[in-house]
């Protein structure tokens, strides 16, 4: 126990990095995934096909392979995204490693977000969209004003599952240069061979707490958005 508590700053910092990965990749995949879902139900056939192909490729590829592609293979052929290190975010510089990890997580997770959002859109009766079109709304307006607001309600539970998976998937970044919680756990295990079980449990608790926070906020959203 004291291995973690005597170094609690490191423990907290590592989970902070886990949260950082989750927030950036989560936001990225929500935006990108929703866009892909719009393409998949949209009127342009080429875009529908392209979006379906994207989902097919990234949902069927193990996350580790996506990581190797973005964090190891791309730098080899000259795409290491190091330009991001010159971007100033309130005095802090984002490292190329963090950015590549976020790219890998976003590419992967957005395929699942796309499918979750699409299931929500399908849950809205077709008549709603038809009614919207018949009063003269464009496709974008139909989506924004009629379909998506209803789809969002249906999409909260599956989307929460996708985000919980993303939160835990951030641990893959431990093997790609990010000192997040799982990497910190390995480091503490290496230094304190006599406290392995306690260290493992404390890091498991850290993940459980984060996932619980996420799940409870999703329940709160469900209650808030419930219709009558």
């Amino acid at each position: 126990m004291e291995a973690v508590f005597s170094d609690f700053g490191e423990y907290a910092k590592a989970f902070g990095l886990t949260c950082g990965l989750f927030l950036v990749a989560g936001l990225g995949s929500l935006v990108w995934g929703t866009f892909l879902a719009a393409l998949r139900v949209g009127p342009v056939a080429v875009m529908r096909k392209a979006s379906a192909a994207y989902v097919g490729v990234f949902r069927n590829t193990p996350l580790l392979v996506v990581f190797i592609f973005v964090a190891v293979a791309l730098p080899k052929i000259g795409y290491s995204f190091t330009f991001i290190e010159n971007v100033d975010v309130g005095g802090h510089h984002v490292s190329g490693y963090f950015f590549r990890a976020c790219v890998a997580l976003t590419l992967y997770t957005s395929a699942f977000v796309c499918e979750a959002v699409r299931s929500g859109i399908n849950a809205v009766p077709l008549g709603q969209a038809e009614a919207a079109r018949s009063i003269g709304l464009t496709f974008t307006q139909t989506m924004q004003e009629v379909v998506l607001p209803q789809a969002v309600r249906a999409v909260v539970p599956p989307l929460t599952s996708v985000l919980v998976a993303l939160l835990k998937n951030t641990s893959v970044a431990a093997a790609f240069g990010i000192a997040e919680a799982t990497a910190q756990m390995k480091s503490m295990n290496n230094d304190h061979a006599d406290q392995r079980i306690q260290i493992f449990l404390l890091f498991a608790v850290g993940y459980i707490v984060l996932v619980e926070v996420l799940t409870f906020s999703s329940y709160a959203l469900e209650r808030r958005w419930r219709v009558a």
């Binding site: 190891v72 730098p75 080899k76 290491s80 490292s95 190329g96 490693y97 431990a174 093997a175 790609f176 240069g177 990010i178 000192a179 990497a183 756990m185 390995k186 480091s187 503490m188 295990n189 290496n190 230094d191 304190h192 061979a193 006599d194 406290q195 392995r196």
Partner: protein, 300 residues
């Protein structure tokens, strides 16, 4: 005269045949330039030397032993995809220890132990010994036994040949990679570098080669092995800035093993097998065998 000519021809044939033989052998083991290591003399009737009830006696009578080594550290413990058994200084030490029990190298079961599972494997009896670049620390000695050290090394820095980093003082603020969770990574973090952990050393070397990371760090012996693989692109810089004392891990259930390990190590220091093992493995990167370390006395 005729006889002499015939002998000459025969000698030439022998030379040719042996040359051909070694060429063929070289072809057969393509990629394996680490050789078979030093020869060990396997003790005969070894079981008689040990008292009844000791773990050594059990192992000697069984004629088999399970040893955990690293599979991903060139020179220390490395097993390529095409290799039948691991090569390196640690497996050589394993063969010396097994030989003193009368166990042939072929009867050793090599198990890969990664940093995370060395203690659990010893505690559960999955392996009898761990010889896997296993630094002796007080924390580890609380849960397993560690005899030795049989080798003392220190952490160094590997950089690209055109790098400005000249010593450990230059790594502040730089990105330095090693294996996730390793002591080496903690040490450079303490010196102000940004630690970048990877799963294996080879991935880390790749990152140095393509310039994604500024430097790599781990025990000097391993770095020298990689520098030797890419002499034009990589170099090892600076003096060692930590001390790692590699020990032989054994289970706390069998404290009697400590004396045996220390005795066997002392003997290998004296009869030259330790130095042969070093020259055949780590010594290949051009370093001379260091001074033989002083063994810690057994605690109980």
């Amino acid at each position: 005269m005729r006889l002499i000519r015939r002998t000459k021809a025969a000698a030439a044939a022998v030379v040719l045949a042996s040359a051909l033989g070694s060429t063929l052998a070289a072809c057969g083991s393509a990629g394996d330039d680490s050789g078979k290591g030093a020869d060990v003399d396997v003790a005969e009737n070894a079981a008689d030397q040990f008292d009844d009830g000791t773990r050594m006696k059990e192992l000697a009578e069984a004629g088999a032993i399970k040893i955990g080594v690293k599979f991903d550290q060139p020179g220390i413990g490395f097993k390529g995809a095409a290799d039948d058994e691991p090569q390196g200084f640690d497996p050589e030490m394993g063969k010396i220890l097994a030989a003193s029990l009368g166990i042939e190298p072929g009867d050793i079961t090599w198990t890969e132990t990664i940093s995370d599972n060395r203690e659990p494997f010893l505690q559960s009896g999955e392996v009898d010994l761990v010889i896997a670049s296993y630094s002796i620390t007080d924390e580890r000695r609380k849960v397993v036994g560690q005899a030795g050290p049989y080798y003392v090394t220190g952490q160094q820095i590997l950089v690209r040949s055109d790098s400005d980093i000249e010593s450990v003082d230059d790594i502040k603020g730089q990105e330095v990679c090693s294996v996730t969770g390793s002591t080496s990574l903690d040490n450079v973090k303490a010196k102000g570098a940004k630690p970048r952990g990877f799963d294996t050393y080879s991935e880390c070397v790749d990152q140095v080669l393509d310039g994604t990371v500024d430097a790599m760090t781990t025990d000097g012996a391993i770095l020298l092995g990689y520098a030797a693989q890419h002499p034009d692109e990589l170099k090892v810089v600076g003096d060692p800035f930590s001390e790692e004392r590699y020990g032989v891990g054994y289970s706390k259930d069998h404290p009697e093993m400590c004396e045996w390990i220390n005795d066997t190590l002392t003997q290998s220091f004296e009869d030259g097998t330790w130095e042969d093992a070093f020259d055949a493995t780590l010594g290949k990167s051009g370093v001379d065998a260091p001074e033989q370390p002083t063994l810690d006395p057994c605690q109980d």
